[in-house]
Structure formats: structure tokens, C-alpha cells
Amino acid sequence: MGDRQISNIQPSNHGDTRGGGSSSTLISFENVSKTFPDGTHAVDSVSFKVEPGQFVTVVGPSGCGKSTLLRMGSGLLSASSGEVRRSEGNLGYVFQDATLLPWRTVQKNVELFCELRGFDRSERRKRAKDAIELVGLSGFNRHYPAALSGGMKMRVSLARSLTLDPPLFFFDEPFGALDEITREYLNLELLRIFAHAGFGAVFITHNLYEAVFLSTDVLVMSSRPGRILKSFSIPFPYPRDLDLRFDPAFAELTGEVSEVLRDE
């Protein structure tokens, strides 16, 4: 149990607008590398940052160190070298599996983070109710996770983080295990919530279309040890809808991203 401690992350330097980034930067990775004790070199000198309003997606082949990157960003794992700076404030984190506690109802699962942060009962209730509404699960409050579909579980997981109103959100392949139709639908839902809640995001996926569709920026990672091969700015304005996928410019961009991945 000794290793269940969160490692200290440098708070980003408020007021200092030179070099490292503006005071509002939500998170910055500077030459961050990770080598596990068993010698696995997972992440190699990754640098990028996320400003408010940015939706940064990292795409890369399986096992290239994407989850490891987020774990370092959240402090669950410490970096072997380099520096992670994160602004004050809560962090939303949607894990690769929904990680809902099976003995809690939807309502109670969504209240969990508020509970851990010591909010009182009525505040918890209110925040959970709002978050459940925002992800479109009203009416399912009393269901247990076992009775939910994969897509619904992911919404609950999202709602759970939304209760803390975090300025920064991590998404670790949240829709990876879902079918294509549900995935498209939840992409739209996520953009709606992104517009509504106004957080900055680091999103991880294998799926190029998803990456380009959702993001303001796409970073392409190499296979292990993961490096950033190239970063793309996605120019399409929000709100976006599914028609965007039939736009020739969209096809061109996904083509370029795909080429970088393929050349790897």
C-alpha cells in the first residue's frame, strides 16, 4: 500500500508569462520521459501544453505509452525525467474502463468525488443531479452499474468528474470499447458538454476520425518508446456536427494524420 501516494506535481508558475507559458496554462509536459523499474522505456521526451479551451488529442499505436502519459500528468505516476506542471484546481479523469463502484447506484457513484472532497450532503446531491442531467442519464439514478450498457457507464464516469467542475479533463480512450454508432453519438455529446462546461482536455484514442472530429489539436505518438511525431492544428470551428466527416478538408486532414502514423 506504500505506493498509493500521489506524486507531487509542480504547480504552474502563476504570474510568470515568460518562456514556460502563460499563467493560464492548464498543464504542460516538458521533456517528460518514463522508464519503468523493469526497464520498459514507455515515454520518450514528450513536450506539449494545454491552454483553456483547447481539446488536445493524442493518437498512437497500442502500448505506445498514452495511458502512462496521462498517469504522469495526473500524478498517479512520477516521471523519470522532465517536468509536469499543472495549474491549481481539480482534474477530471475518465479512465479506459469506467471504474464505477459496483455497490453504488448511479447517483452514489456520481457523488463519490464530492464525497471524497468532503462536500456536504445537499451540495453533493445537487451537483450529482446536475451532472447526471448534463450527460443525459436522468431517470437512471437508482440503477446499479451492472444494469447499464457500456456507453451509459462511460457517461456516469464522465458525470462523476463533472461534479467537481474541473478546468482540465483527461480522457483515456473512453469510447474504445464501444460500437461505432454509440461512439459517434457520444462524440457529439462530449462536444456538447465541452462547449457547456468549458474545460481544457487531453483525450486519448486509437481512432483517427474521432481524434480529428473532436479536437483543436492532434498529437501523433510513435510506437514505444512514445515520442510526439507531429502535431496538427484542427481548424474547423465549433459547434461541429457529423456532416463534418464528409467534408473534403476533414478527409484530407485525417489522411495526413494517418500518413504520419503509417510511416512510423
Binding site: 500500500m1 501516494q5 471504474t99 463502484l101 459496483p102 455497490w103 463519490l112 468525488f113 471524497l116 472532497r117
Partner: protein, 268 residues
Amino acid sequence: MSTARHTSSRLRSSTYRLGPPIVVFLVVLGIWYAISLSLDPDRQFLLPTPNEVIDVGFVNQDNLFQVLEGLLWTVAVSMTGLVIAIVLGMTSAIMMSQAKWVETSFYPYAVIIQTVPILAIVPLVGLWLGFGFTSRVVVCVIISIFPIITNTLFGLQSVPASFHDLFTLHRSSRLTRLVKLQFPNALPAIFAGFRISAGLSVIGAIVGEFFFRKGIPGLGRLLDLYRARLLTEQLFTALVFSSLLGILVFWGFGFLGRLVVGKWHETT
């Protein structure tokens, strides 16, 4: 129309479930009569007919009350032992889950308690603590504590790492982690342990009495007594109540478990 079909299908399914055991029961009863009646009259005490068992062991009030009193006493001993085993077992499992050194130091002894034959320990317990209530309870505790320790410990330690991450992210204390994460996670295993231990505790109460002959006789001593005096009918009565107690306790704790965790966990 559809309700009618429903009722008839439910009727059919309950016939299907109850039918075969009833048939088996009747066949066994038939064989019992056949053997009993084919014995020499002077050896028939070895296996009296079922109606003799009912006449002597159940209809005769004095005999029945003797067994019922014994049953009550056995229930008192085994349930006291079980409660103590639950408290001690869960406490030690929680301590083992909190500090690795406690686990590595004490768990081997829990295993030893489990593996040493109970019949070898019982006389020693009697020697030290006398032959009354205390000793009987101690035997119940010894025989039933192991499943509680192992099941609780397993439940507390089998929390998925990703669940721990959630609590780590929010810098939760050990106590919060224990109360809100590990303990609920352990509940299904804990109740499975209760069920096993409850049955063992009843066995402990009965077995202990074969050695401890002071105080009010419980089922164990009655069984021994009836055997020694060749009171076969009453032996059967005591046997029936012993089994009923075992079944009731097993079923009762199964029910309790379903009540508590059944909403979110498939209990078998």
C-alpha cells in the same frame, strides 16, 4: 390467458424442482421399511421403522423436549462462538490488510489453526478451560474462524487497481479507502465466509460435547448418550434436529448475504 399460462408454467417448474427429491424421499423411506422389517426382532433396535421413530422420538413429549432443550443449548453455544469468530476474524483480517508485517507474521498461524485436526485440540482446551460453556464456545471459534479471516482478507485485498487510482487521485486517507472502497468490495466474500463458518460452528458445538460432559447436555451429548444406551429412535430425532440446524444456519446466512449484497452482486 397469459397469466393462466404463467401460473401453469410456474406450477410445472416447481413440480419439476420438488418432484424428484420427493420421489427420492419416498424410495428411501420404502427401503428403510423393507430393511427394518426384514431384521430379526431382537436386532430391530438397530433400525426401527420410521413410524416407531416418530412415535418414540417426536410424539413422546418428554423425549422430544429433551432433544429440543439440547438443540437450544447447541444453538446458544454455536452462535456465541460464531459471533466471537466473526469479530475476531474480521478484526484480524482488517489489521492484516493494513500492515503487511501483521499479515506475514500472523497469517501462517491462522493456517495452522485450520490444519491441525480439531479432535487433537479439543481435549487440550477442556484441560485448560474446563468442560463447560467456555470450552465449547472456544472450540466453535477455533473451528470457524479461518474462513472469516481468509475471506475478509481476500475481499479487502482484491480491489482492482483502477479503483484505488480513483481514491489516490483525491488523496483519500487510509480510513476512507478502507471504509468506502475495501470494505464494500469485501462484502460478498465476507458473507460467503459467514455461511461456511456458521455451518462449521454448529459442527464445533456438537463435536465439542463429545468431550465436554459438564453442564446442560446439548445435541452432541444427547447423540452420545442415545448411542451408548441404544436408544435408536431418539438418536434419529437428535440427528434430524442437528441436520435441520445446519441447513437453517447455512440458508439463513445465504439469505442475509443476498439481502445485503444481492442488489449488485450475483450470489451463488
